[in-house]
Amino acid sequence: MERMRMVFTGSGGQGVITAAIIFAEAAVIYEGLNATQSQAYGAAARGGSTRSDIIISEEEINFPKVIQPNMLVCLTQESYTSYAPIIRPGGLLLTDSRFVKQERKVDAWQVELPMYQTVMDEIGKPIVFNICMLGAVVALTDLVQPASIMTVLRKRIPSGFVDMNQKALDLGIALGAPQKR
């Protein structure tokens, strides 16, 4: 496989960093791949701009930061404006259609999905927005099996929340799968 460099961005509280950790952990523990996850670390919490870098590879990963992502996820307009220019030519740009209006064309495969709206319509709780986003990422990239994501989630969350997360993941997969090239 080609080395996958991913950047997840959004606003603090949306769960982009948690989603990044879950995705990378699933890749390492259940898919037998190497992965690094790092994040811009600062004093900002909810409401601030957040970014997490993930690299997934069969080879050893040395430099852990992402300069030009093959895949960029932006969950706010601010993060889209900041990071869209850094995407690797031909990369995949995923945004949420409620929060981001894609204004200009970059040399990328641009996918806009109503992830937030679908979660609110079908589940009614924004807390699993990030898991729905992960579902879309899983469907679009084919790096990690949905079952691996669920195995990581079961270890991390109270059992009463597993079904809601499963549903959010499935919604994301259903949104992402038809877009796959």
């Binding site: 950790i21 990378a24 952990e25 390492v28 523990i29 190497n34 992965a35 690094t36 996850q37 790092s38 994040q39 670390y41 600062g42 004093a43 990963i61 040395n62 430099f63 852990p64 930061k65 300069i67």
Partner: protein, 382 residues
């Protein structure tokens, strides 16, 4: 139980290493970017039968681990620059009184409170000379989580073997990033346990009378022997002395027990050194960028190599000299203003061909930063 595969932060790899090594007493005061070490140990250590104490500050933390070590425990504290500054006085006491302990410094930008959430390697010289007076010290570092785990175990083993404080100089970048860690089964990695005296209770025990191999068997303080421990120059009983022979003998012992073993204590990794025209010397997180450059430019035919140091103190000067001997240029990659570069210059035969690739702005050095400097050295322009 078999090897456990985990996906963790570097700080957690340090915790796993410490628990594997038999840590059973931790005293500390949380500080970014080392906080996860205290946080995780506050839960894990009591579950493993050990003691965790959050102290009022770093001075007390250092004092607490010294006391606990004397009573027979394997001890550690964890901090970052400002806390490491506060620990320097008691660190010197542990050097003088020969008390095994491990001090983890997850480095952030300094001086003072500096830049808490960003990485740096600015405490290399503080680890060496932060406490006053002539002395020797052991300091280890690591660039990835498997090595953080391994070096943490090494630190405990060296502390016990040589009755000395050992400093783990990690940094924010490795401390906070996540990657794979494989925790081997207990028993797979050898551990050094406390060397206790065979002198029975009621018989005179000389706490500072070395055996022929230089090692000093210990007696758990408060157990069957009464003895004195002091930061003053002391005789074999542990009582203060200003006798020139005693003073000279002790300072030589403290320095020689470590510096005579510089090559034995050296831990390092070689990457493509065999035919390298340019040898990079790096350590900790910076070595990740350097290794990225080596692998990437090797694909394009450039003869680059990397000597990754894991033991920083005592500085492995013979090894650096030998590995750099055939290089046209040496580039030291580090996140400070050249603290290890100066040591490399002292070690090699051609100090004028030693260059520094660094960043001191809180940003992790990128492969591009290093490549620009390499192009200048190679006469290729930037």
């Amino acid at each position: 139980m078999s090897t456990q595969v985990k996906f963790v932060q570097g700080n957690e790899a340090c915790v796993e290493g410490a628990l594997y090594a038999g840590l059973d007493f931790f005293a500390g005061y949380p500080i970014t970017p080392s906080t996860e070490i205290a946080e995780l140990l506050s839960r894990r250590l009591p579950m493993a039968g050990g003691k965790f104490i959050q102290m009022e500050d770093e001075i007390a933390s250092m004092a607490a681990i010294i006391g606990a070590s004397l009573t027979g425990h394997k001890v550690m504290t964890a901090t970052s620059g400002p806390g490491f500054s506060l620990m320097q006085e008691a660190l010197g006491y542990a050097v003088m009184a020969e008390i095994p302990c491990v001090i983890t410094n997850v480095q952030r930008g300094g001086p003072s409170t500096g830049i808490p959430t960003h990485g740096s390697q600015g405490d290399v010289m503080q680890a060496r000379w932060g406490t006053h007076g002539d002395h020797a010290i052991i300091a280890l570092t690591a660039s990835n989580h498997q090595d953080v785990f391994a070096m943490t175990i090494e630190a405990f083993n060296m502390a016990e073997t040589y009755r000395t404080p050992v400093i783990l100089l990690f940094d924010e970048i490795v401390g906070h990033m996540r990657e794979k860690l494989e925790v081997p089964e207990p028993g797979e990695i050898p551990l050094v346990e406390r060397l206790r005296t065979s002198v029975k209770g009621g018989v005179n025990y000389h706490p500072y009378l070395p055996r022929e191999d230089g090692r000093l068997p210990m007696s758990d303080f408060g157990d069957v022997h009464r003895y004195n421990v002091t930061g003053l120059y002391h005789d074999m009983w542990g009582f203060p002395s200003s006798d020139p022979d005693v003073v000279h003998g002790l300072i030589r012992h403290l320095v020689d027990k470590i510096e005579n073993r510089t090559n034995l204590l050296a831990r390092y990794k070689e990457h493509h050194l065999e035919d390298a025209e340019i040898v990079m010397v790096s350590y900790g997180s910076a070595a990740r960028s350097a290794l990225h450059v080596v692998k990437n430019r090797r694909l394009r035919g450039e003869r680059l190599g990397l000597l990754e140091l894991q033991t920083l103190w005592p500085f492995p000067k013979d090894i650096v000299r030998e590995k750099c001997a055939n290089a046209e240029a040496v580039v030291v990659v580090e996140l400070n203003m050249g603290q290890v570069m100066q040591e490399v210059k002292k070690a090699v035969d051609f100090p004028e061909r030693v260059f520094l690739a660094n960043r001191i702005d809180g940003v992790f050095i990128t492969p591009m930063d290093i490549r620009k400097l390499l192009r200048l050295i190679q006469g290729k322009g930037v």
